[in-house]
């Protein structure tokens, strides 16, 4: 005869409950940490997890090394300008196109719902706030990860597999200073610039949809959009949505550049290795941007 579940559980759980009741008070608080530590220990037995941890470690190491060499930037001004051109001018049309359609989509989606309640005069507020807070920085970052990030990883990966990085090493040329610093600085500079363009064209696109398809006068849309952007933040006394979005984009730009450079620098194994480094750079950059976005939003709007 199979015993009832309760008959099995009670003899086990009762002494456990008694043990916990007799344990010191801090033990209950420590249990979640112990669980996480145990989980990490178990995961560390898996090679893919160890490789991921090592990869994250080398990326953090590169970030620290880059930060310590930022004062080399004046010496790298030529490469900085080239990277600004490559990341900014060559991607501008993509950011503008995607930003325009994102603004139009937000306007259309929210406008249709708002018009059911007769609130379509709020479309400008919603489009302006969503573009400046989230859409602008995020879309710009995704475009930068897919275009410049992949290009950085492919470029440095090719240098790695063709012995160019070894050549720099034997010539005692600091590769972080020579290769990484100008690229990271360029993306941190260009990301907010592209974000402003993305925000602007998104709001313009939203206005176009609002006026042409939802019957909202352009003047009313513009007024509500500008009103939304005037709201001062608690943290800094400037239009909060705009500046928080730009602050985010600076961080996103740095993340994309560091992750892409780190991915390229460790590429091994010919063309296949470069391909893997490139796809890893894009994947990790987008994940990092999304995770960082949550924490930055929490920090800026708490």
């Amino acid at each position: 005869m199979i015993p009832a579940p309760q008959a099995l559980i009670v003899p086990v759980m009762t002494p456990l409950a008694q043990l916990l009741a007799a344990a010191p008070g801090w033990l209950a608080d420590a249990l979640p940490f112990a669980f996480v530590a145990g989980l990490v220990y178990v995961l560390m037995q898996a090679s893919w997890f160890r490789a991921t941890v090592v990869e994250m470690g080398s990326t953090l190491e590169l970030a620290a090394a880059t930060a310590m060499r930022l004062h080399h930037l004046p010496r790298r001004s030529r490469w900085l300008m080239e990277q600004l051109f490559a990341a900014g001018v060559r991607n501008m049309h993509v950011v503008l196109l995607v930003g325009l359609f994102m603004g139009m989509i937000v306007s259309l989606q929210t406008g249709i719902e708002l018009s059911r309640f007769g609130q379509q005069d709020q479309i400008g507020t919603i489009v302006a706030a969503s573009m400046t807070r989230e859409m602008g920085p995020f879309i710009t970052s995704v475009v930068l990860a897919a275009t410049t990030g992949s290009a950085l990883a492919a470029e440095l990966g090719t240098m790695s597999v063709s012995d160019e990085l070894s050549a720099l090493e034997v010539m005692s040329v600091d590769r972080t200073s020579f290769l990484v610093v100008p690229r990271v600085a360029a993306l941190m500079i260009i990301a907010p610039v592209l974000t402003i363009l993305c925000d602007t064209i998104g709001i313009v696109g939203g206005g176009f949809v609002a006026s042409s398809q939802l019957g909202v006068p352009l003047a009313q849309y513009t007024e509500s959009a500008l009103d939304a952007l005037q709201e001062k933040g608690a943290l800094i006394p400037v239009p909060m949505d705009v500046y928080s979005g730009l602050f985010k984009s600076v961080i996103f730009g740095g993340l994309i550049a560091i992750i892409s450079c780190a991915s390229g620098l460790v590429a091994r194994g010919g063309a296949l290795g470069v391909g893997r480094a490139t796809s890893r750079a894009v994947r990790d950059s987008i994940i990092a941007v999304i995770v960082a976005n949550y924490f930055l939003t929490w920090f800026l709007y708490r």
Binding site: A167, V170, V173
Partner: protein
């Protein structure tokens, strides 16, 4: 003479500039170097010969600290390279030149910029001095007009010459060549060999040449080490090396190569 003769106690040991002592190196399960030992005398050009996968390039990379041995010692001027601090290794590297198999030129810099790079990064030389030194080295490798070109715009042979000029730009005491003739036709190969010999004679610098072509060894090298399965099984002056007695070397060189 076999490698057993080239130990610390060998005649002329005080002139040893590079020494491998029982060096082992493995990549995963692949044990590439298995107790490699040989010396390089100051001012001599030593060829490192052997079949594919015997660890020639791996050995060369140990000399300049691009690889670390799993065990054993790799000494340059009496100092064990893996034990050097980052600063000391950097200083040592500034006195060495490395010619990579494919040139390894920075592909977005012009030939001139490639040559100038180590001087711009590591010295206080002015622009004029650097430009003069670049022009001098380009003339030395017989491509004086290639300075403004990008690596993608020049041939494989020219890339080798630029790589050689870049290695020479720091006036090195030790030159390391990794298969300088790989991928070149016989005519260009001969000109590269002549150039290497010319540089060895004019600069009297020590050199290690990883190569598997007999014509290069004959033209350029004073001595040759033959690697087999990660060990140096023959170390002889070039003339004796090309009259082989070791069965593996006879098999490797073949009758045609020796004629």
């Amino acid at each position: 003479m076999t490698t057993g003769d080239t130990t610390t106690d060998a005649p002329g040991a005080r002139d040893v500039i590079v020494r491998f002592e029982d060096v082992h190196k493995a990549f995963g399960s692949q044990h590439v170097l298995r107790g490699l030992s040989f010396d390089v005398q100051r001012g001599k050009v030593l060829g490192i010969m052997g079949g594919s996968g015997t660890g020639k390039s791996v050995a060369l990379r140990h000399v300049i600290g691009l690889l670390q041995p799993d065990s054993g010692r790799v000494e340059v001027e009496g100092r064990n390279v893996p034990d050097l601090s980052a600063d000391d290794l950097g200083e040592l590297r500034k006195r060495m030149g490395y010619v990579f198999q494919e040139g390894a030129l920075i592909n977005w810099l012009t030939v001139e910029e490639n040559l100038a790079l180590p001087l711009v990064e590591n010295t206080d030389l002015g622009r004029g001095e650097i430009a003069d030194r670049v022009a001098e080295k380009l003339a030395m490798v017989h491509i004086p007009d290639a300075g403004k070109k990008l690596p993608s715009e020049i041939s494989g042979g020219m890339k080798k010459r630029v790589g050689l000029a870049r290695a020479l730009i720091v006036e090195p005491d030790i030159l390391l060549y990794d298969e300088p003739n790989a991928g070149l036709d016989p005519e260009i190969s001969r000109s590269i060999n002549d150039l290497m010999r010319e540089i060895a004679e004019s600069h009297a610098s020590t050199a290690l040449v990883v190569e598997h072509r007999v014509d290069c060894i004959r033209t350029v090298c004073d001595e040759v080490v033959f690697l087999h399965e990660g060990e140096a099984i023959v170390h002889e002056p070039t003339e004796e090396f090309l009259r082989p007695s070791h069965p593996r070397l006879i098999e490797f060189l073949g009758p045609d190569a020796l004629s």
